[in-house]
């Protein structure tokens, strides 16, 4: 049973993500992907994540499928205009990719090619509508396709964004634009997340809560300082602070496991972001009792 079917049946799903490397040596990435086989329902592949140039998403999605995992093809609107996006979606469809995560994308000034021209011809909400159109057999210009796509489109939401109301309004737009599932930005504040979930329940859309593995107190502080919409509580930072290396990582795994255990009854699933420690995702799931 695939990702879409699992979600539609209401089974608890686990997704993780893999970031393609910058360069052609994919041995480490392949090792990580292989370690996730049988452990996750589907695996996101990021699209020039953080506006840093890396291997293209389609090629890595193919690797993931070859290894035997269902990919979730992340597509940002930063690097391609509407022609490029649609033709890549058609390409994804003929390659057998079933799931797409529609994103706007980080601005190029945050990445490693700061002088790049940002495209943003369309954005996440509009991209969801485009995917719906392709599924119905027509492109953005209203022209008929010779063969439609059958893509399962999702989107993201940041439940701890400040201010929250504009973010929630956009979340609702994404639902109306055809998002069939959501993966959230990393969450740490459970009461805040539960408030968000009440809103999500009204819209009746599956939410996969974002779990970001904390590897050290330093990382937690970095997230608080530099990553929008992520707020690690001081108590977690204090728990990590005296620990180093593997001990800190083990604590992070325990924290993530606890979060997942708490979310299991509330969410449709979890999206685990291990950022370079993908080989420890099975440990996180074990800590969660999955």
């Amino acid at each position: 049973m695939g990702f879409k079917e699992e979600i539609q049946r209401g089974n608890f799903v686990v997704t993780a993500e893999v970031g393609p490397p910058k360069g052609t040596d994919i041995s480490e990435m392949v090792h990580h992907i292989k370690g996730l086989k049988g452990k996750v329902t589907a695996l996101n592949v990021t699209d020039n994540q953080s506006a840093v140039m890396r291997i293209c998403t389609l090629a890595v999605a193919k690797e993931i499928m070859d290894i035997g995992i269902e990919p979730i093809y992340q597509m940002t609107c930063r690097d391609r205009n509407r022609l490029g996006l649609q033709s890549d979606l058609l390409g994804a469809a003929i390659m057998g990719i079933k799931n797409v995560l529609a994103l706007t994308g980080d601005h190029p000034v945050l990445g490693d090619h700061k002088d790049a021209k940002a495209v943003f011809d369309i954005e996440s909400v509009q991209l969801l509508e485009v995917i719906n159109g392709l599924n119905e057999g027509r492109d953005m210009a209203g022209l008929e396709l010779q063969g439609a796509t059958d893509l399962f489109a999702g989107a993201i939401v940041t439940p701890e964004s400040i201010p929250l109301e504009p973010q929630l309004a956009k979340f609702e737009k994404k639902v109306n634009a055809g998002a069939k599932f959501f993966q959230t930005q990393a969450i740490y504040d459970m009461p805040k997340f539960m408030t968000f979930m009440e809103r999500a329940k009204e819209l009746d859309v599956p939410i996969l809560a974002g779990i970001l593995l904390l590897k050290s107190a330093g990382m937690a502080k970095y997230l608080n300082k530099f990553v929008a919409g992520v707020s690690v509580p001081q108590e977690l930072i204090d728990e990590l602070a005296p620990l180093k290396g593997e001990d800190a990582l083990k604590k992070g795994i325990e924290i993530a496991g606890n979060q997942i255990a708490q979310l299991k009854e509330v969410c449709a699933g979890v999206h685990v972001m291990a950022i370079g420690a993908e080989d420890r995702v099975p440990d996180i799931l074990a800590a969660a009792g999955l």
């Binding site: 706007t104 945050l110 369309i122 954005e123 909400v125 400040i162 201010p163 504009p166 309004a169 919409g229």
Partner: protein, 216 residues
């Protein structure tokens, strides 16, 4: 108005390196307001250029003139004695620089400023971008705050995940345009419209070599 910022003296000096007699022409409209291209700027830039060349031991003659607008042949006709000079440095926006290049087709024309944006005069010396000239105004949908100009990604349907305490992901000194829009629409009582999905823009209108012809 159109906002421009001065080019560095080094850059201007390098452009006119092969010349001994240049005319510096200012523009008395937009770029004068933003303190970049009016009579005073022409005088300051010309003086600095003369001094810099003097230090190099190669004096340069720099003529100074300022017209009301360089984007209009009517005013460009007031530029005098161009035959005395080997080149022109224009302190107008890109439109004016090209205007003067068209008016004097046999004289090399160099830009003395970098044209940056269409902006609002917030206070003396401080200007903010307000319009991208997209050719398809949607200010009625966004509470009078332009998402094309004031969101770093020109998003049309709300803030991205990078919005942070009302600031933009590209810099904490920049307001998130979509938070401004949300707050304004809340103030106006039009938040119901905020949730309507705005269609992609037609960049066919903005991306081509544009003109407007009212002659018919």
């Amino acid at each position: 108005m159109i906002v421009a910022e001065p080019k560095s003296l080094d850059e201007i000096k390098a452009m006119v390196d092969g010349y001994d007699r240049v005319l510096m022409v200012g523009c008395g409209t937009c770029v004068e307001v933003c303190l970049t291209g009016g009579e005073r700027s022409v005088n300051l830039t010309a003086t600095a250029l003369r001094l810099a060349r003097k230090v190099d031991g190669r004096d340069i003659e720099v003529g100074e003139q300022t017209v009301i607008r360089q984007c209009d042949f009517e005013y460009l006709d007031e530029v005098k004695d161009t035959d005395k000079y080997q080149a022109i440095v224009s302190l107008a926006c890109g439109v004016g620089i090209q205007g003067i290049a068209r008016r004097f087709p046999n004289t090399p024309v160099f830009p003395g400023v970098n044209t940056t944006f269409m902006g609002f005069n917030e206070e003396y010396g401080y200007y903010t971008e307000m319009c991208k000239g997209c050719g398809e105004c949607i200010l009625h949908l966004t509470g009078g705050v332009c998402p094309v100009a004031r969101c770093a990604k020109s998003l049309l349907n709300g803030p991205c995940g990078g919005t942070n305490n009302g600031k933009c992901e590209i810099g904490s000194d920049k307001d998130c345009g979509w938070v401004l829009i949300y707050n304004k629409m809340e103030q106006l009582g039009t938040l119901d419209k905020f949730k309507e999905i705005n269609a992609p823009k037609s960049y066919g209108k903005a991306g081509n070599i544009r003109s407007m012809d009212l002659r018919k």
